[in-house]
């Protein structure tokens, strides 16, 4: 097994296990409480408004917005981490059929791994009061993954008359 395939398969397996552990932790210790907080604050906003307490209603609505902002990104983090990991493993199995030299394939595999770590990391930083840095990392990570995937697609399409190895 060459270096590029090792990076994709081993890196992907580690990322998948990490993403699933994060998901298990999140489901057991965080998600139910978060959903309760999100639904509860929205219900409070309406109930307070129904009781004529406009100030409390606005506060509850702000709490709803903040909890939902974090919740959406935490769920995205979990699903994107595992999704990218699975894609890496799948590509790792067939990466010899990308019609580039070994060094180029290794560089593409490294870019896939880097982007797959940086993109979800940026998403989680957006929830940790580092929205600016988080957005930069998320954009950079997704751009790296898109570039690597585009190169892989070109490699597969070029490889019409036989395997690269």
């Amino acid at each position: 097994m060459n270096r590029a395939r090792k990076v994709l398969i081993f890196g992907g397996t580690l990322l998948a296990a990490f993403g699933m552990l994060y998901g298990l932790h999140y489901a057991v210790f965080v998600e139910h409480q978060t959903l309760d907080g999100m639904g509860g604050s929205l219900a409070r906003a309406f109930t307070n408004a129904g009781e004529g307490r406009a100030g409390d209603s606005r506060l509850a609505l702000t709490a709803y917005r903040d909890i939902k902002y974090t919740y959406v990104r935490q769920v995205d983090l979990h699903s994107h981490w595992i999704g990218l990991a699975m894609l890496m493993i799948v590509l790792g199995v067939v990466f010899d059929e990308v019609a580039f030299g070994e060094r180029a394939r290794f560089a593409i595999a490294l870019a896939m791994l880097l982007g797959s770590i940086v993109f979800p990391l940026g998403v989680i930083l957006q929830t940790a009061r580092m929205a600016g840095l988080g957005s930069v990392l998320a954009i950079a990570g997704s751009a790296i993954v898109i570039g690597a995937l585009g190169a892989t697609a070109v490699g597969f399409m070029k490889d019409d008359k036989g395997g690269a190895t």
């Binding site: 296990a17 699933m20 298990l24 309406f46 109930t47 129904g50 751009a143 019409d160 395997g163």
Partner: protein
């Protein structure tokens, strides 16, 4: 076992998703909108107890919808993982009996996980010793933990293989043929994934924050409507449209990527599909066409309405039919191993 179980899980998960989309999704959305309208009217009438009743109803509807979506997604993803594990088996340095046990445990967990998620809405907190976690959640979490344990042991076996620099595969590797089916699935799948990534990046950059801001504006408008104001209905409609807009955009993004990965995975198992070339190509064409039709027409639902929704459902059904067709080929392959060599018809 993993190839058969993986394709069966994906086909079952997609069929469940199609049934959910046709019989539950739109009705659930309509009922949620009605409940929100009731809550807004109760706010305008300063009736806080009616607000609480309306929100209990909304929470119930959202849980109903969310658990069904999760069951659909987790069953398909577990199927993908089963196919992946099947591909990795030649490089997992464990005994044959251990691998069979792991495969059985994985498929058991993969079945129990979506079943547990599906039951969360119906079982609720009945007889549960926990304040917010019911027995169905315990079942789902335990099944998820089982999948993680199996994955870690498989990873350990893979590590053992990797540590031996001169190791040869412990099982015969998958045949690396260059058939038309394999090339079409491989390149078509990669293009689908790429399209999904580009669309996802566009959605995150252009729509995500705008949707979040618009939701707050609509909710503020709803809460500040005076009693008897005619704007409540239009605000609830705007909220419903926003939710629909988000749902179709996210669904288009996730489905096109999942179908791309599925196509790549299926390219590996084509040697196990014991069908004639003609039928193999037919299933590949149907699968790729359905994989494009579903996300494109899901995206067009807001412009074309129910017609687009119906075409999207047909696209999903095309993928399911192609999967079942390939599954029949896998069953025939296992049968052919025990029989005299024959010619596929």
């Amino acid at each position: 076992m993993l190839v058969f179980g993986g394709i069966a899980l994906i086909a079952a998960g997609m069929l469940f998703g199609d049934i959910f989309a046709v019989f539950v999704l739109h009705q659930n959305g309509g009922q949620t909108g009605q409940a929100l309208l009731g809550a807004a009217n109760a706010v305008a009438a300063q009736d806080s107890s009616a607000v609480k009743v309306a929100f209990a109803r909304i929470g119930n509807l959202l849980e109903d919808r969310g658990t069904k979506v999760d069951a659909h997604v987790h069953m398909i993803d577990a199927g993908y993982l089963a196919l992946l594990l099947a591909l990795l088996q030649p490089y997992v340095n464990l005994s044959s009996s251990s691998k069979k046990l792991l495969a059985r445990l994985f498929l058991s967990g993969a079945l129990l996980l979506p079943v547990g998620i599906f039951l969360i809405h119906y079982v609720g907190l009945a007889y549960s010793p926990f304040p917010v976690i019911g027995w169905a959640s315990v079942l789902a979490d335990s099944a998820g933990a089982l999948l993680i344990i199996v994955l870690l042991i498989e990873g350990w076996g893979f590590r053992n293989y990797m540590r031996d620099g001169n190791a040869t595969p412990v099982e015969p590797e998958l045949p690396k043929d260059r058939t038309w089916e394999r090339r079409m699935l491989l390149s078509g799948g990669t293009v689908l994934v790429l399209l999904g990534f580009v669309y996802g990046a566009w959605y995150a950059g252009i729509n995500l924050y705008e949707h979040e801001n618009r939701e707050m504006v609509i909710l503020k408008n709803l809460l500040e409507q005076p009693a008897g104001a005619g704007g409540i209905g239009s605000s609830v409609n705007a909220y419903g449209m926003l939710q629909a807009e988000k749902a179709v955009q996210i669904a288009a993004h996730s489905h096109i990527i999942e179908f791309g990965v599925l196509a790549i995975l299926l390219s590996f198992v084509q040697p196990f599909v014991f069908l004639s070339e003609k039928w193999k190509r037919i299933w590949v064409r149907i699968l790729l066409a359905g994989s494009l039709i579903l996300p494109v027409f899901v995206l067009l639902e807001l412009k074309l309405g129910l017609l687009a929704g119906a075409i999207a459902d047909v696209g999903g059904l095309m993928v399911v039919v192609a999967l079942v067709g390939m599954l029949v080929g896998v069953v025939r392959h296992t049968g052919s191993l025990d029989a005299e060599p024959g010619r596929a018809r």
